[in-house]
Amino acid sequence: MDHKRRAFVRVAAGALAVSGLLKAGSAGAASWNKPGFESKAFGDAVKNLGAANMIESKDIAITAPDIAENGAVVPIAVTSRIPNTESISVVAEKNPFPLAATFDVSNGAEPYASVRIKMGQTSNVRAIVKADGKFYTAAKEVKVTVGGCG
């Protein structure tokens, strides 16, 4: 167990060093976007992602149910066809904390992520994609019958 942990530390340190080199200036691996995740309004969350100037794009596909009977488990999958996609964020516009997740893809991972989120009420689910330093977005409405935040 202990040597496993040490191995992880080594891997993590390596990953940090590598990502630090690749995206100089960015915060590096595993730095949690506290202001973004603690934003209570959709607009603030977007601003704290740095995506205030995001552009609507048809090259982002969101797979989500039209109607979610159980707001505690809403499956969301996002695929980006935008070249050089660096990260994909999932935002439930009317959640108490709208930003649900950010996925940074690198080293051959396809610009795709699938996750299940909680939704408090019917709202747009918005994907925000960062590619070449620019932000693109697409949205899909999900109707929630029973909220999943309580």
Partner: protein, 106 residues
């Protein structure tokens, strides 16, 4: 305390379809228990997935991710036998690492 993850990686052409199921309560900090007391917020903040030691996905999560989280990703250029390692860290500093190998498509 953390229970093992279930990781399945299956080749489809040269792309590994990776599916990860973690065990975690993912408390939002908004739920009240039977006594009416707020259950403290407790959720996975960071998930790192590596393919043969290279980071392919670095995810940051909020408490909005569902309980017992599911994560799906696709890794290009993968081969059968490649190593997929997943590590998560939650807001209390608990962490867990599990690994699996890419299986050939059946």
């Amino acid at each position: 305390m953390a229970e093992p993850m279930r990781i399945r990686a299956t080749l489809q052409g040269d792309v590994a379809d990776v599916r990860i199921l973690m065990r975690h309560p993912m408390e939002t900090g908004q739920r009240k228990d039977a006594k009416g007391e707020v259950v403290p917020v407790h959720f996975i903040q960071s998930v790192v997935v590596t393919h043969n030691g290279k980071t392919v996905l670095d995810a940051q999560w909020s408490q909005a991710v569902s309980r017992d989280p599911f994560l799906g990703l696709r890794v290009k250029g993968a081969k059968a036998g490649d190593k997929i390692t997943v590590t998560w860290i939650d807001n209390k500093g608990d962490r867990r690492t599990d690994e699996s190998t890419v299986a050939a498509s059946s």
